[in-house]
Assembly symmetry: C4
Homo-oligomer: 375 residues x 4
Amino acid sequence: MTRIDSIPSRRWRRLSWLLSHALTTAGVVAMVLGTSPDVDVRFDDILGNVILAVAAVLAAVFIVRLWGAAARRRPHQYLASSKGMVDLACAVALPLGWALVPDPHDARLFALVWTLRYISHANGLSLFWRVMVRSRIALLSIAGLFVVVTLTAATLAHVFERAAQPQAFGSIERTLWWAIATLTTTGYGDVVPTTIWGRLLAGWVMVGGIVMFALHAGIIATAFAEELQRRHFLRTWELVVSVPLFRDLGAAAVADIVRLLQSRDVEAGAVVMRKGDPGDTMYFIVSGEATVHIAPKPVVLGPGNFFGEMSLLFGGPRTATVVATKPSVLLVLDIADLHDLAGRRPEFVNLIETEARLRRDRNGGTADDDDGIRD
Amino acid sequence: MTRIDSIPSRRWRRLSWLLSHALTTAGVVAMVLGTSPDVDVRFDDILGNVILAVAAVLAAVFIVRLWGAAARRRPHQYLASSKGMVDLACAVALPLGWALVPDPHDARLFALVWTLRYISHANGLSLFWRVMVRSRIALLSIAGLFVVVTLTAATLAHVFERAAQPQAFGSIERTLWWAIATLTTTGYGDVVPTTIWGRLLAGWVMVGGIVMFALHAGIIATAFAEELQRRHFLRTWELVVSVPLFRDLGAAAVADIVRLLQSRDVEAGAVVMRKGDPGDTMYFIVSGEATVHIAPKPVVLGPGNFFGEMSLLFGGPRTATVVATKPSVLLVLDIADLHDLAGRRPEFVNLIETEARLRRDRNGGTADDDDGIRD
Amino acid sequence: MTRIDSIPSRRWRRLSWLLSHALTTAGVVAMVLGTSPDVDVRFDDILGNVILAVAAVLAAVFIVRLWGAAARRRPHQYLASSKGMVDLACAVALPLGWALVPDPHDARLFALVWTLRYISHANGLSLFWRVMVRSRIALLSIAGLFVVVTLTAATLAHVFERAAQPQAFGSIERTLWWAIATLTTTGYGDVVPTTIWGRLLAGWVMVGGIVMFALHAGIIATAFAEELQRRHFLRTWELVVSVPLFRDLGAAAVADIVRLLQSRDVEAGAVVMRKGDPGDTMYFIVSGEATVHIAPKPVVLGPGNFFGEMSLLFGGPRTATVVATKPSVLLVLDIADLHDLAGRRPEFVNLIETEARLRRDRNGGTADDDDGIRD
Amino acid sequence: MTRIDSIPSRRWRRLSWLLSHALTTAGVVAMVLGTSPDVDVRFDDILGNVILAVAAVLAAVFIVRLWGAAARRRPHQYLASSKGMVDLACAVALPLGWALVPDPHDARLFALVWTLRYISHANGLSLFWRVMVRSRIALLSIAGLFVVVTLTAATLAHVFERAAQPQAFGSIERTLWWAIATLTTTGYGDVVPTTIWGRLLAGWVMVGGIVMFALHAGIIATAFAEELQRRHFLRTWELVVSVPLFRDLGAAAVADIVRLLQSRDVEAGAVVMRKGDPGDTMYFIVSGEATVHIAPKPVVLGPGNFFGEMSLLFGGPRTATVVATKPSVLLVLDIADLHDLAGRRPEFVNLIETEARLRRDRNGGTADDDDGIRD
């Protein structure tokens, strides 16, 4: 159960991601333009055909995937997954429009459902979902408070303003429109209190809107920060434990280090670091291959090796250029975090120094720096 | 003094919560619609009767509860509690309206008080209250700053704009309306400076509004995050210490683990995990019962047992389906948090492994995974 | 250099604080109303006299304080302090207005300076100042970004809209008005783009405004949270080290505990806890005196004693009522934080148990609970 | 590779920073005023000449720098750096305008490019860049959600309102204008729904806007806080390890202390602390020189020395005035943080006490306090 994909499969997925989004965007743009009186007359047929084509492709995608799932004897699982449900909705949207709405131009509006594809393929949706579920109690409390404040503001504004502006403030129902536009600080200005009491009330409602806003931001920000940290930890942890060097450190040190590492994908041929540049990061190779271009002959590093540590440990600019010779996954450690680790995990820095010395002895002087160690 | 409620009492409370809120909502909606000139004529009697009925029920609720409290010889305690005060206010609201306001339609507006029930029954109110009290010094400082900035903006705008717009900016009193709508970034646009100096001032006021907003958000978000963390800690702590497994770990480890666990209620018959699914959580049973459907014969787990640990410890999908056979309260531990714990509390993972091995030996191969351990 | 004030001096300061603010408010309200055409005619003399009276008092306050500082031979120190500068500004404001402005009604507007008193007497001002100074680099970076984005938006809007709306978008100077109202999401709506490109630009500017807003909020919130935590730590630290019980714990434990304690002032006669109530806090007496009303005879506790620990350690409701018999300063420890401490600082809970046992033996059964300990 | 600059070079850089910004500002202001119909007629030649002059200086700056880089044989490096790219863009902007745009007044608008200089010279740009890159996944997810919500809101509003307001809501294309102004809570108010369904939708969109806003703020605030902390750590770490006193403490303690120190530059002759003032900070000298004015004869302190510790350790006001006799870089430790450190790092406080005693013995009674130690 490894999630460390090879680079070629990643590139392919990126392409299919782009194609899928281009398709969705084409369909949605055609739907939007199709409603415009300026564009409609001349391009109506083209737009209609684009929408039809996208609908056909989306229906085909759904059928192929369902077929594939049925072949693996789990069509139910596919249909119950969020991906399957979005595929189904996209395939069904336009036919449903034709069935329900007599005007074919209005039926096209059902293509709006396709925008679900923008959020279903990212893991954004599940992220938001978890954040909402985790902070549901606080958010519900705020929603209750919001309802009470809105209704109170609307009732009071109705009482204060109904004599002066019977049209806009004549019923609480209508006053709610003003209350919500004010409490969210949107402030359209189409309905505005004019009496002194109405304005005093409006002042309080605006300030209340800011505070409500701040409460929302506070709750969601807190939950979001936690969730993001959790995700980053998980993803990096899998990469870190696949590097033997880290495994020797013990679980406590690994948990510590995982928080500080960032993963980075590089293509074959990419220059990871260049001789003479200031150096403030070091790299661990998870998969792939990198070549260090140094004096006697270039050194090839593979999974589990690291480079760039000399600039961090002893200061000074990079003393060698490092090029990825295969598509590689790297873990990046920042100089600030290395200093931090040096305090809490001195064994980690020792390990890196020892490894660097061993490697140099084996190769007769390598890594990205000779002089730093010889002194 | 245990707060770990059994599931049936929870279900009952949820029903009564729904009924209570439906009642309040019916009354408030009738009140709102009753002010509308479009609806009023035809349904006025119905709406009036709905309001009367809700008022009667709320009065009855108050009397019954006061009676009950008196029977337990503590009517004062009930009346002094926030619940009692809300009940009293709801019971008294409409009669007070009739007494104070001659027009019976206007008297109905007092039904607004009933919305207090939306926030009194949740613990949202006390949460907000604590947040406000904790950050009162900072909030008061901002309120002071807000008053000073608003008054300064209003005075300067009065000076700059009174010649150009004597109606809107003729007195500071009126200019305050513009100042507050601008400082809260509501921006109705009904009153807008037109001179160059007035506009320069308005630009600063808008930016000042954003900063003030940010200060609010910062203070409240900080206080909120702390308070929520504290509440979660308390609620989970009570559940955790009721599981013998955790009690053996010592107070320090318990405090550590409590932060990472989430409680979850499941109904009888609910499938907690399904064979073949990817596994990223494990479960501890606080109360209730769960059945693990594995090869020789199903295994029944009770309070203090746990399941789902194999997918976390050794990777791979779920190897058994687990169904709750009674309504249960579970504690959920996430894979990210288990990795984290493994570093800081290795004894915890050892304990889980040992327990799992013991249980398997007793049952002749159980938990949710045979193979994982035999290898 | 102790900052632990006795309660009477606090009460006196609170009264003088109220009087000072009432005075300022009276003056400022008179100034605001004095500009109103509705009020002016009838009450003009009264308002003028109120302003004069407040100005006289403020001038007198400044002279008395300067005199007092001169008597202690440090008038320069007083004039250089923020308090002295505000006093001077308030005393000089109105005379300066009379000297500079010919119209006496306009001269009154200088009374706006008095609002500085709202923020000078709280420590709010220094708090904001520190927050701004600490995050000055980030805030300046944002200010730079804000200027660049505003200018770019204004220039582009000028290019896109000048043909359609020469009045509002004819020069960048005028377009800036639209740009800033949009970027701060104020949205007056008095100037609105109408061309397709102008609207596309406006959409980006609005979204940019939200992001800029979020950056502000993020920076300030972070700096604020740190600063508040720092202040709370300092204030509580002084109280904690004045309690002998805590001093015995060693500096590391004290630093830990300080974070969790809240200080609270109670008046003489206040009921701190009531028999039968649920108990989720315990109290340490810093100064003052409290009486525990228990069976044989009430027990009097003084500085350094604590009470309410039984409900926390063993659960159950309060078993005694505790009344403050002198104005007291208490430190409050929450049940959530005690559980947390029990993990990290077991010696602290042992200390409390030992102390409670000792005290009971001395008094022949006291604290707030007999039974809890005898078992 | 030390970044601890001497004060004179700092002063020079500050001057050149001011000059550079004054130049940019002059050019940009001339460009803005040049578009104004009120100003144009009289000052057009002057404004044109200012713009020409600034363009000439900026072109010269670019050529000189390119020349210098070529002399050091790295012109490519300069052109590839962000600084070089901004210099190039500024030098090329106006000529490009003349080449592309026929109207010379419009060509001047290209001077807008010069505003890039506001953000290129600060490290603000790289800060924002890192924040955006770090939180790119979350921000992209929100962007997707934003697109979906905006399109959905626009389509529904189009359906609800097209009959009532064919001009503003006749096509989704036009409705998008309303949707985005509402979702960002800008609320121009030029297009407003009037039907009951349109208003209900608008209410949800406004609330959705607040939540989206809060999500943005949450993500960016979290990423920002982390990045700022990282930068502060790095900058202070370099200063701290250059002080011998700290180096003796070991890496773990240094990492701890770095978080709590603030760096401060003082000019020669500046009074760092004054006798009789309350003391809540102590200072470490990184570079420069400070003189302690105490009784027998003043004591001169150099790099590695510290002062002001007595007020922190024993309370009481400052007992001596300290003046910087050379431009100095100081590290400031706050009283709150010292208390905190005393718990976690008692060896640090011991070190300071020992050092202070040694220094006093050597000088025959010095530091900023004699009495405190003699007792």
